[in-house]
Every structure is written in C-alpha cells, then in structure tokens.
C-alpha cells in the first residue's frame, strides 16, 4: 500500500528536453555529439529561445544535426558557418544564431572564416567540437590531432616536422578583441560535462543579452571509432592525454573581471 502512495507522489525530475528530438541518432556508440546536442538543447529550452534560434550545421558527422535539434537550421559548406552566421545575424539581429562545427570544419578549411567572424566581433555563438580527427571521411588527421596520434593519414603517428603541431584554436581566438568569451571543456565525465553545460549556457546567454562579440566553446569530444578504443577508454584518453595538448579552462571572458 505504501509503495503505491510513493508511486503516485513521484513526478519526473529528468525528461527529454523538447528541443532534442525524440529519435535515434546515427552517431557511433560513445560519440560525444549526442552529449553536446543535449547540452545545447537544454540550454535553448532553459533560456526559452527555441522560437527565435537558428542553428548552422557543418559538414562532418554532425551534418544531420537538424534531424536532432528542433530549431530552424541550415546546412552549409564546409567551414563556412561563421560567414553564413554573419549574414544571418547582421540581417536578423533579434535572432539567436549559433554554429556547430567540428575540427575539420573550424580548424582546417574554415579557419579564415572563424578568425574573421571573431575579428569583426560578430554577435554569434560557436560550439566547436574537437575530437582530434576527421570522423565523417574515415579518420584522417585533423589540425587538432595530437603528436604521435595514429590516423588514416598519419599512419606512423603525427610528426611535428612533417605535420606540424596540434592547432589550439581557443588560444588563437582569445587574442582577438572581438572574441569576448572563449572556453575549452571536455565531454569526458559527468563533472566535466556539467562544466561544459555551464560554458555553453554562458555562451548562449551572452548573445541573448546582446553582448558585443563572439562566444566560442571548444568541447573536447571522444571518437571511439577512429581513436580505435572502447567508449570508456576513449573518455579516459580524452581526459588524460588530449587535455595535455588542449588544456581545459576559460581562456577569456570579458564579462568576468581579471
């Protein structure tokens, strides 16, 4: 009898957040995209901006992000999202514009576009998924692949002499006055994911409040398939190894004092 009373008194404390569509995704087991999508969806719902948010999907594993996030979305050419976002935000200043880009998209082909969007202080939010590899096309080296990492195009491990060093986008962008908030987080454990959520929410809230510049949150994300690890091992490797090349933390926030 007591048991029944408890059941009736229960109410849900954790549900699907409406902006995250109720459908299976195509992502690999252990992929970080699912986590990142959820954090963004929660942020959009908590801020109540679903009706005026427009998202930009990249070229990469998350090209179909519009199948999972229930907001107006556009799919754009590889790397061009910050330029598309510029066109959208300048002509629609009241809308919340965000781009969601991988490391090939943002740190390889699209590096000019992200730097100049930040340089022009475009009032947009950029979510940068860094999984140190080109996933969609079969695990090639990305600019963010770490030294020694074996990929389809660095089969003896990334070598600084011939392939250069991993590219630290957040550090690069933090130097620009137009980039007002830059933080790097990891999707490797509940504690880190909670921090990532805070960062994402801050990045969106800045745009909602009309802040005068670009916000970027870099999310170190696991790719078990092309790191050739189990999902659990991938999370470990991310937190132990990747963070050595990509230190976590807030690189810049003009809204918080020194």
């Amino acid at each position: 009898m007591t048991f029944c009373v408890i059941l009736i008194a229960m109410k849900p404390v954790f549900t699907r957040t409406p902006t995250f569509k109720d459908c299976p995704t195509h992502y690999c087991p252990g992929c970080g995209h699912g986590i990142a999508h959820r954090l963004i969806a929660e942020t959009i719902d908590e801020l109540g901006i679903r009706g005026r948010t427009i998202g930009i999907a990249p070229v990469g594993c998350s090209v179909l992000a519009y199948n999972y996030l229930d907001v107006d979305m556009v799919e754009v050419a590889h790397g061009r999202a910050p330029a598309v976002a510029t066109g959208m935000k300048r002509t629609n200043p009241d809308k919340i514009i965000f781009s969601y880009q991988g490391d090939g998209d943002l740190a390889a082909i699209g590096t000019a576009e992200i730097i100049h969007a930040a340089h022009r202080a475009e009032q947009i939010t950029v979510i940068f998924i860094n999984n140190a590899v080109f996933g969609m096309t079969g695990g090639q080296m990305a600019p963010t692949t770490i030294l020694g990492q074996v990929t389809a195009t660095t089969q003896r491990g990334r070598n600084a002499r011939s392939e250069g060093y991993p590219l630290q986008i957040s550090e690069l962008l933090a130097v620009l006055p137009g980039a007002i908030y830059v933080e790097r987080c990891a999707l490797s454990s509940p504690a880190q994911i909670r921090k990532a959520k805070k960062a994402i929410k801050h990045a969106f809230k800045l745009q909602v409040d009309g802040a005068d510049g670009l916000s970027l949150v870099e999310l170190l994300s696991p790719c078990p398939t092309y790191w050739r690890m189990s999902p659990a091992k991938a999370m470990e490797w991310l937190e132990k190894e990747m963070t050595k090349s990509f230190p976590l933390g807030c690189l810049k926030d003009v809204t918080r004092g020194p």
Binding site: R50, V71, M73, V74, R80, V84, G87, A112
Partner: protein, 361 residues
C-alpha cells in the same frame, strides 16, 4: 526619381539594387568593380541596411547564403577571379534553392589575367559554374541603363524561382558613365518565403539544406530543378533583334560587344550590305527560338565576343548545322573595334556567295 543622372555602371547598379530593396550587400575588393563595394558601404549605411566587407569572396558568397536563407534580398559583386572563388557558394545556393544576386564585372583571364574588360566567363556563368547539374539565370546588359534595369529584374527572378541570378557585366560597363533614369517599376507578384529561417515560433522547423543521402531523393531534387529551369526557358527569355528580316549576314553578340557590333552593322548597312544583329539579353535562358527562326532562311551567322569563342558554341548548337556559324573575337582583355568587325562583314559578303554554292551541291 525620374530625373536623368550621369553615373558609372558600377555605382548605378549598386543604387539600382538599393532601390530594388536589397537588404544586404557582402563583397570583397577586386578591380574593376571596387566602386560597387565603396558605394554600397556608404549608401547601405545611409539606408540602415547591411553592408559587410568580407575577408574573401568565399566568405562573401556564404554571407549572401546566410542572409538569403533567412528570407532577405542579398547580393554580392566581384570580378572573374573572385567569381571563381564563389562557385562553391553558388552551387550550394542552387542546391538549397536560395535566391541571390551575383554581379560579375568580367576582366581578362585566365588566372590573375588583367583588369581590362572581357567576356571570358560566359561558359562559367551559363553552365552553372560550380559543381553539379544546375543553372543560374544570366543577364547580359549592354548599357548602363540596361544594367540598372537588370537589378530589380534579377532580384525578382531570384525570388520567384528560388535560385541565384548572375548579372554579367564587364570592365567597360562597370567604368563607363552614361545618362540613366532610375525608375521604380512595379515588380512581379512573388510567392511568400514560407521556407525561410525566421525562428520556428508557432510552426515546424524549417531546414535549408542541399545534402540528400537517401537513395533517389537527390535525383528527385535534380528533376525538380530541371522542371524549374524548363519553366524559365519558356517564360523568361529576353532578346533583341535588329534588321534581320532581309539580312544575309547576322551578327550575334551580347553586352558591350553588342554595342560595338551595332556600330559596325550600321556602317555596313550604309555600304549596302544586308546585315542585321541578334542580341541575347538573357544568356541563360538562351534565346534558342529567335536564333533558330533566323536560321530557317539561309544566311551566315557571325558571333562576336570578347573571348576565344564561348557563346558561339550555343549559337552553333541552336542552329544545328542549318547555316554556317563563324566567330570573331578578342580574348584576354582585348576589345574589338567597329572597323575590325566591319572588315569581317565585308569579307563575308565575298565569301557568302562561295559558301552558298558549296552548300547547294
């Protein structure tokens, strides 16, 4: 607004775009169209509209893509090498069915080329230009007035058919000054942009995309585009003819080359030569009917272009062997003179009788 003003082509087309309701201009400096970016930077600010000098032509066309996806009238301008950079974006605009206006003030090529006028981008403009099976509407004005009149037409066509429209000018048209009138004529009735990304308040999400992985879906999209293109070919051809009825020689030219051709044809007529001209104004859709009809009677066609011969291929295709199609042109920034063309016409009057005899055998 109906007063006559003296303006150079570049600035005139910019003003015409503003009158036509251009919401946003995104561009990068390149000669010989820098007057457009400078003029737009001042006038768009005055009108409270959007101007961004982008970091590259790659970025500019993508900014157009973004603004267009939200339902705004957006345009860019560039010249040949910059237009090459924009081809990726133009293909995406076509695939995503987004309206846009792209002005190409052609210069000599290939490569860095020079800054002299040219018509060397005809192939690029009329065959889509980027990857995939698509077309853009291409307008080829021949005067600053016609360039001005092309702008509202370009925006209307882009919105009506949801595709990029290229306005093909050249270094002479861009720089030359002619007296013009800005007339705000009533535009066409246009469908509502219910596909635009405006925030999904109170409706299902809108998605603007060009990737269709499921088998058969992309094929369907291509047929849909083709149906659209067939409509355009039926309804939107613009072409001008002059003295073709009794002509034994017909010159075919567009843009600034047609201005020079007109001068040569007038002089030839004075010498008693039966010559006329056909001037395509829409380069795509190409005036196949008009040229085909002109070829029903036996005459010689001479295509004149500022290139090694690009539109001449379309003329040949349309005429399909019914009559000889010859070419005269100057590439790499060269501009033919009235005398050169007149000379060619004179040579043809001698050859024509020989050709006629050959064909009868």
């Amino acid at each position: 607004m109906n007063e006559r003003v003296l303006m150079c082509g570049n600035e005139a087309l910019a003003e015409a775009a503003i009158i036509a309701g251009c919401d946003a201009y995104f561009g990068y400096p390149i000669t010989p169209q820098n007057e457009i970016t400078a003029y737009m930077s001042r006038r768009m600010a005055e009108e409270g509209r959007v101007f961004v000098q982008s970091e590259s032509e790659l970025a500019a066309i993508n900014m157009v893509f973004g603004a267009s996806a939200t339902g705004k009238r957006a345009m860019t301008s560039s010249s040949s090498p910059g237009i090459s950079l924009m081809q990726e974006g133009i293909s995406y605009l076509a695939g995503a069915e987004l309206p846009a206006v792209v002005v190409n003030v052609m210069r000599g090529g290939p490569g860095l080329g020079n800054i002299a006028p040219s018509q060397g981008d005809y192939f690029q403009a009329t065959r889509g230009g980027g990857h995939g099976d698509y077309r853009t509407i291409v307008l080829g004005p021949w005067s600053v007035q016609e360039l001005v009149d092309c702008m509202p037409l370009a925006f209307d066509l882009a919105d009506q058919y949801r595709m990029p429209v290229v306005v093909l000018a050249d270094g002479i048209l861009g720089q030359m000054m002619e007296p013009i009138v800005f007339q705000k004529k009533p535009g066409r009735e246009l469908p509502p942009k219910d596909w635009a990304l405006t925030g999904a308040q109170g409706r299902e999400q809108n998605i603007v995309r060009s990737l269709w992985l499921v088998e058969g879906v992309l094929e369907e999209l291509n047929y849909k585009l083709q149906a659209k293109y067939e409509q355009i070919q039926k309804n939107e051809v613009l072409c001008e003819q002059y003295e073709v009825d009794d002509a034994e020689i017909i010159l075919v030219a567009y843009g600034i080359a047609a201005r020079i051709v007109r001068g040569a044809v007038d002089k030839a007529r004075q010498e008693g030569i039966k010559v006329g001209w056909i001037r395509p104004i829409t380069l795509w859709p190409f005036p196949t009917e008009q040229i085909s009809k002109a070829a029903e009677q036996f005459r010689i066609f001479l295509t004149v272009e500022m290139s090694l011969g690009q539109m001449v291929e379309d003329v040949k295709l349309v005429i399909a062997g019914k009559a000889p199609v010859l070419f005269y042109g100057r590439p790499g920034g060269g501009v033919p003179t009235v005398e050169e063309i007149l000379d060619k016409i004179r040579q043809l009057t001698i050859r024509k009788s020989k050709i006629k005899i050959k064909c009868k055998m």
